[in-house]
């Protein structure tokens, strides 16, 4: 069991919902990212660290902006690893790297997973790597004890979603909307029926992300999933220099 699986197991035993916070590595700068992880550790169960990419096709304006700023700060994979290495001195919180395939491919797949293992990364999410292209990466993730977290979409259909669920070695990332990342007032009407059906097909934890930004979202969904991923809403707060902790307290007030 890796660090992430331990956390998931513990949450399940305690019947607690997980909160996973997405931060773009190096936005607004590397020091702030490290500081924020330590600050929000108590209010979050998992950290997703976004590897910035020049062409983030699954992301809305908020994360596009933070990625662009991080790239202007010369953030690359080495810097992402150094962030993980530094915070590992102070916290055991599971860290998942989330990034598009090209920078990872360019780094060298084996080198990427080996370095992830060495620095204390617990999982990987690659939004532009579908099931069909994932076998080599899953093999390497397994070899280096890194959890592989696939995405399932509302458009996947139950049969495909079940197939994808089987390859997960952590949780399953279910996108709450048919679209790109970004805070939204309303999530898709199809989401709850989809989560209910998927629940019957897999015992793996379901985490909902994309658009999560209000306490009502969490209240409505908490019966049907095991965790929530909050990204763009957090990045917007960082941009406005507002307290993330107050927001996390507010949004999780009923779980």
């Amino acid at each position: 069991m890796n660090n992430l699986e331990k956390t998931l197991y513990k949450l399940k035993k305690e019947k607690k919902k997980a909160i996973s916070i997405f931060l773009t590595a190096g936005y607004p700068n590397v020091n702030t990212t490290e500081k924020l992880i330590i600050e929000i550790e108590k209010y979050s169960d998992i950290i997703e660290l976004g590897i910035p990419f020049s062409d983030p096709i699954a992301d809305g304006p908020t994360i596009q902006y933070s990625s662009q700023k991080a790239l202007e700060n010369n953030v690359n994979l080495e810097k992402c690893f150094s962030i993980v290495k530094n915070i590992r001195k102070k916290t055991k919180i599971p860290v998942i790297l989330m990034g598009y395939l090209n920078p990872i491919y360019n780094y060298g797949l084996n080198a990427f997973f080996s370095k992830s293992h060495k620095t204390g990364v617990d999982g990987i999410i690659i939004p532009d790597l579908p099931f069909e292209e994932s076998s080599l990466i899953r093999k390497l993730a397994k070899k280096y004890n890194i959890a592989y977290i696939p995405l399932v979409a509302l458009t996947s259909g139950l049969k495909r979603a079940e197939k994808i669920s089987k390859i997960s070695t952590g949780f399953i990332y279910v996108t709450a909307v048919t679209g790109i990342t970004g805070a939204r007032a309303e999530l898709s009407d199809e989401l709850i029926p989809f989560l209910k059906k998927l629940k019957n097909k897999t015992s793996k934890p379901l985490f909902v992300g994309f658009g999560i930004s209000k306490p009502e979202h969490i209240e409505k969904l908490k019966k049907y999933c095991e965790g929530f991923i909050i990204g763009s809403a957090i990045i917007s707060l960082i941009k406005k220099k507002k307290s993330i902790i107050n927001f996390l307290k507010y949004i999780t007030r009923n779980i």
């Binding site: 992301d59 069909e132 995405l151 495909r160």
Partner: protein, 388 residues
């Protein structure tokens, strides 16, 4: 026959896209497989290609430039197609496909505006709602085409992210597609994107090479020595090259945009200066920095200003089936002038790159037969060149 069932040309291609898109892409693939052998679909497409787009296009013996280079130079006149470029071939094919799939909205990216105009045209014809994504920089340098798209009833959406050119227009089109996947077909204009797009675009553009092959055999009684075409994403060149693939004595030369020169860093010569990576859905050569970030490119021609290239071209390069070279902005302008002055044909700046390359191989091509794909006409570029 390439691509293989997973969409690979050797090690290039594949399907790298967000999960939300994958089921729709698989649906497109299955649909396309069915219509490939559907006679009524092809009858309909051929009807429009002939009576609407004006095919077949002539294979014109350019006697004046032939004299200059002491060779036999033929121009495949895609500039004479309706809307002024080869882009209509693929736009018609994909739009008819989208209509059969029951899609009510079509989106497309455009660089030079030629693909945008072709898509807007076909959507007007078929009564389909149309939105075109175009980098803000390109809306300025190809303003005439923006206006044409608007006249045709399309909504043109300027893209302000990144380098504000073709790459960013594709990013934005993909984001729209992820959001509106149920109603919308993404009509990709080049042989890029996740499988099956590189194959679909190639197949619809292969009419260029099929016609040219038949025409040259009729006129000359033998195959050409060289095929010459410009390469951005690579749709006109793959359309010309592919039907000659098994004709081993026919040499393929793809001409990329050398911009201000390959050593300046300001160019779009992906196949010469790129590294293998993943962009816009497939594995291919990409212009990227040491961290795997995609580079901003430069070319005088908006249609070639792209840091990626179709995976089939990467395959042709790695197997040495084709040679890829480049000419600079300056040289392209020379090609533009040469064809205008000596043949009375004003070529698009994209196609001018292929023309310009003639002077770089003038010693090799003496007494040889060459077919150049004249992918588009240059009206759209006149205003920009005048303002320079």
């Amino acid at each position: 026959m390439l691509p293989d069932k997973n969409g690979y040309f050797g090690k290039f291609g594949g399907r790298y896209a967000p999960e939300t898109l994958i089921p729709a892409i698989i649906e497109l693939e299955n649909f396309y497989k069915n219509i490939k052998t559907d006679k009524s679909f092809h009858a309909q497409l051929n009807y429009y290609l002939k009576n609407y787009a004006g095919r077949s296009t002539p294979l014109y013996f350019a006697k004046n430039i032939s004299k200059i280079f002491s060779s036999k130079i033929y121009l495949k006149r895609e500039d004479l197609c309706h809307t002024g470029s080869h882009k209509i071939n693929n736009a018609l094919g994909q739009a008819l496909l989208a209509q059969k799939m029951g899609k009510t909205r079509i989106i497309a990216e455009t660089g030079a505006g030629q693909h945008g105009v072709a898509t807007a045209t076909v959507c007007a014809l078929l009564g389909i709602k149309c939105e075109i994504f175009m980098g803000y920089e390109d809306t300025k340098r190809q303003a005439l085409n923006v206006y044409r798209m608007k006249i045709l009833g399309a909504n043109v959406i300027p893209v302000y992210s990144g380098s504000k050119t073709l790459k960013d227009a594709i990013n934005e089109a993909m984001r729209d597609w992820v959001t509106n996947i149920k109603t919308t077909h993404y009509l990709i204009g080049s042989c890029v994107g996740p499988h099956p797009y590189p194959m679909i675009v190639r197949d619809f553009q292969s009419i260029i090479g099929k016609e040219a092959r038949k025409q040259i055999l009729e006129i000359e009684g033998h195959l050409p020595d060289y095929l010459l075409a410009c390469v951005g994403g690579g749709s006109n060149s793959i359309g010309l090259f592919h039907p000659f693939y098994n004709d081993n004595n026919v040499k393929f030369i793809g001409v990329e945009a050398g911009g201000l020169g390959l050593s300046s860093g300001k160019h779009s010569a992906t196949l010469e200066k790129g590294k293998i990576g993943i962009l816009h859905g497939s594995k291919s050569f990409i212009l990227q920095n040491k961290d795997g970030q995609v580079l901003e490119t430069h070319s005088i021609s908006a249609g070639l200003d792209y840091p990626g290239v179709g995976p089939e071209h990467s395959y042709y390069k790695s197997t040495k089936r084709a040679e890829y070279v480049s000419v600079t902005d300056k040289e392209a302008i020379y090609g533009f002038k040469l064809l205008s002055e000596s043949e009375g044909i004003i070529p698009a700046l994209e196609s001018s790159h292929a023309i310009a390359y003639l002077s770089k191989i003038k010693n090799k091509i003496k007494n040889k037969t060459i077919i150049i794909c004249l992918s588009g006409r240059g009206d759209k570029d006149v205003e920009y060149l005048k303002s320079r």
